[in-house]
């Protein structure tokens, strides 16, 4: 497994240096920055800082800008991570290297972890840039619970990884990335408390938000990062995230295996 991990890591590092479409990278950052910037403009210039009375109660904070900026931060992070992992196999298929990959006895676990850890280099760079820009527009750093934030982010990353495996399975099934991924991202933008608390939505669609790691990830992140709450206060969100991992991970693994066979039959049969 570690051999595959290293090999994938090194290969992707070389790809990133030589042939990575950097417009993706800038696109992801811009996405987060625009969400931040337009929230700031709307809040300060158009509405003069007047909020709806229910916001405080729904969001557990009266700080709209910190709320939206942390939402934007984790949203861009999730989109990037989901894209990196879920597009792995289908990119091999498109570039013609899938056959070679399937012929080797390499461990799939090592392969995906290698993909993720290499992608993590870009991810953290994006994260830090959006975080710094967010700081200029009103994200507060004064109460950060550092250990809590790191724990929340770690669990969140694992849950996104599990979700990405399921997404990747769907992509291979539809043999499409553009429509599948963007549909998911748009749904996430609506139901995951990114720019407004989920409570504003009708009750009937809350469950869609509940099955997305991003909803619980942003909830927990806001508590520990903005409010400086201890880990015990975000226990429910963490349990949700762990539960989602327990569901998505096996489903994703099985789907990936099935889809590999499906693709093999369809393309090389």
């Amino acid at each position: 497994m570690w051999l595959t991990f290293r090999a994938t890591f090194i290969r992707n590092l070389i790809t990133m240096k030589r042939a990575y479409p950097w417009s993706f990278f800038i696109g992801h950052i811009l996405n987060g920055v625009y969400l931040t910037l337009f929230a700031y403009l709307t809040y300060h210039y158009v509405f003069d800082g007047s909020l709806d009375s229910r916001f405080q109660q729904y969001a557990d904070t009266g700080n709209y800008l910190s709320y939206v900026i942390s939402g934007a931060l984790l949203y861009t992070f999730s989109v990037s991570l989901l894209m990196i992992v879920s597009r792995a196999i289908i990119s091999e298929l498109r570039e013609g290297t899938l056959e070679a990959l399937l012929l080797t006895p390499s461990s799939r676990k090592g392969y995906f972890l290698g993909y993720l850890s290499q992608g993590f280099m870009r991810l953290s760079l994006e994260f830090v840039i959006v975080l710094i820009i967010g700081g200029f527009f009103g994200l507060t750093f004064s109460n950060v619970n550092i250990i809590g934030t790191l724990v929340v982010l770690l669990v969140f990353i694992v849950s996104l990884f599990a979700q990405a495996l399921v997404l990747g399975g769907f992509m291979l099934y539809f043999r499409d990335t553009y429509l599948t991924q963007n549909t998911l991202f748009m749904v996430m933008g609506l139901v995951c408390s990114v720019t407004f608390p989920i409570e504003y939505l009708p009750n009937q669609i809350h469950w869609i938000g509940q099955i997305m790691p991003l909803t619980h990830g942003t909830d927990a992140f806001r508590q520990v990062f903005i409010e400086g709450a201890s880990l015990s206060t975000v226990g429910t969100s963490l349990i949700w995230l762990l539960g989602l991992i327990a569901i998505y991970f096996p489903i994703g693994t099985i789907m990936m295996q099935k889809m590999e066979r499906h693709v093999l039959e369809k393309h090389f049969g």
């Binding site: 007047s50 909020l51 933008g189 720019t195 407004f196």
Partner: protein, 270 residues
């Protein structure tokens, strides 16, 4: 009539190209609707009562109507960006050379593509808009007689805008980058979600770069506020100015690109 043939052929082609799979309805219908709903709820955390600072520009109770007209205009323009983005495949797969070898009018090709994609892309969202109007009850405040004029303005501007984008995407290596940079500012500054009048001066300056700003001002003026055409002459003049500029640029770029291609055998201009 050579150019009508060319335009029609291009419309049929892009229809067959786009509608080979039902998945297209995701991007044609589901995405715009999601986008609309998301921006509706994204305004909810703000004070939308009668004391809100925004109340001096429009009645917050009409927010739904305001957003609906805004997004209708936006979808017209946005669907063309998407189709223009796909035009670049034409160059990558080499079929663009074939088209340029035929005696078809280049302009007909560019505008045929824009027009063909436009009608197919927007009818679903237009139906959605009407349905929403019936549900939320904005029907009575609409000036029906102004509707045809509003649609003509919307369609003509969108097609000219789309033709320009087609040309830009045809001759550049990676114009999707431009799309990434400009798409969201257009959604924010063109007055789709919030009235341009509520922006600070520099915000208004940015808004006036986008033809959509004036299109929306005209549509809302004519259809929602019931103004007469003469009251809207100033945005109309701006709109005509910007569109003529875009039209001129389209022709210049097309000629330049073709000349360049003949000399260097390379379709890429920038």
């Amino acid at each position: 009539m050579n150019w009508i043939n060319g335009m029609w052929a291009e419309m049929v082609k892009s229809h067959q190209h786009n509608f080979h799979s039902k998945m297209i309805y995701l991007s044609l219908f589901f995405w715009p609707v999601l986008l609309f709903i998301t921006s509706y709820f994204a305004l909810k955390p703000f004070d939308l009562g009668s004391t809100s600072p925004i109340a001096e520009f429009f009645d917050p109770d009409d927010l739904m109507l305001f957003l609906l007209t805004g997004y209708l205009g936006y979808i017209f323009f946005w669907s063309l960006v998407q189709s223009a983005w796909q035009t670049s495949y034409e160059r990558q797969t080499g079929t663009l050379e074939l088209i340029f070898l035929t005696p078809v009018s280049r302009l007909a090709f560019v505008y045929g593509r824009a027009a063909g994609n436009l009608f197919e892309a927007v009818w679903l969202f237009s139906v959605f808009t009407v349905l929403m109007l019936v549900i939320v009850g904005g029907m009575q405040s609409i000036v029906w007689s102004a509707l045809p004029l509003a649609f003509v303005i919307l369609i003509v501007s969108a097609v000219i805008w789309g033709g320009f984008l087609n040309v830009v995407f045809l001759f550049s290596r990676d114009a999707s980058f431009l799309f990434t940079i400009l798409e969201e500012p257009m959604e924010f500054f063109a007055g789709i979600r919030l009235p341009v009048a509520a922006f600070p001066v520099w915000g208004k300056v940015i808004a006036y770069i986008f033809p959509l700003t004036f299109v929306l001002e005209m549509i809302r003026g004519l259809v929602v506020e019931g103004k007469s055409f003469t009251e809207l002459l100033s945005p109309f003049a701006w709109l005509v100015g910007i569109l003529s500029l875009l039209f001129l640029l389209t022709i210049i770029l097309l000629n330049k690109a073709e000349k360049n291609a003949k000399e260097t055998g390379n379709m890429v201009l920038f």
